[in-house]
Symmetry: C2
Subunit: 169 residues, 2 copies
């Protein structure tokens, strides 16, 4: 039996995507901090990505962000403490509160959106519209392909003699 490992002879997509995503995340945060919004934390992104200008409920934001109600609630309360968000009781539903940006929160959000728009412009300049749009399409489709395949897998554990012989411990 060989102890050789067959490595990929290319940089895997997962490494490329992860590093690009990480660089973008870092850049967005650094940019906000450089603009003076030093209180912004990575977790706040879930709010900026899901809170429309007219406001929303934490439950709805959580669903859109793909995290739990409790986690979104915690992030929102943190941002209220920082003066970025406000919560007011929903007059139409005694259980609910409506989350909105404060005036400062609007400035933070606007800065972030402006930077996203600026990055888009820079990327189109660097790569050309065609290649950049190809990348966007491919990334979106990769996500689709993988998310689709999740539930439909029949998980045939017995099919693989190696894992079957090894796994029990």
């Amino acid at each position: 039996m060989s102890r050789e490992l067959v490595h990929p002879d290319f940089v895997p997509m997962i490494a490329l995507a992860e590093k690009a995503a990480r660089a973008l995340r870092t850049d967005m945060l650094t940019h906000a901090h450089e603009r003076g919004f030093t209180q912004i934390q990575p977790a706040h992104n879930a709010v900026f990505a899901t809170l429309p200008p007219e406001g929303a409920r934490t439950a709805d934001m959580a669903a859109r962000a793909g995290i739990t109600r409790q986690s979104m609630g915690e992030v929102v309360r943190d941002m209220v403490r920082l003066g970025i968000l406000e919560m007011v009781p929903d007059p139409a539903d005694g259980r609910a509160k409506i989350v909105t940006f404060t005036e400062e929160g609007l400035h933070v959000a606007q800065q972030g959106f402006s930077h996203i728009i600026d990055l888009d412009r820079q990327f189109r300049e660097e790569f050309g519209d065609a290649d950049f749009e190809t990348t966007c399409r491919v990334l979106a489709r990769i996500q689709e392909m993988l998310d689709d395949g999740l539930s439909s897998e029949p998980t045939p554990a017995s099919v693989n003699p190696i894992s079957a012989s090894i796994t029990r411990r």
Copy 2:
């Protein structure tokens, strides 16, 4: 003064990259679990990405993975406990230990690498070599562009009257 927010009218690259990266990460982990390697955790990826077949030191692996010596050490000890890795004292350096895969660890790693190769093949089928390679090139370059720009920024906080007026609290 308007309370309007100027939103991007496109899906930002950061959202695309993040979701694709997340889907790939989940897929890799799910795949390992489905193959019977249920003990594998997300943090183990830092090892699979940095440990060559001939073995290495945790300090070197940490540097390559971009995490601290201590964090890598903890992950490695965890994987030793799980029977995936072994640590033996380096005969050439009394301070150092050499980390290697166990026989089972080799199976886990091989399964992961095989899946990475398989995903690459699927993506090339779906998008064609040209578009797929464009995506890889663009992602790598985006990372480069952003990482380059990090240290060179002069951070002109005073340049922005809005943030300057708001930030102090």
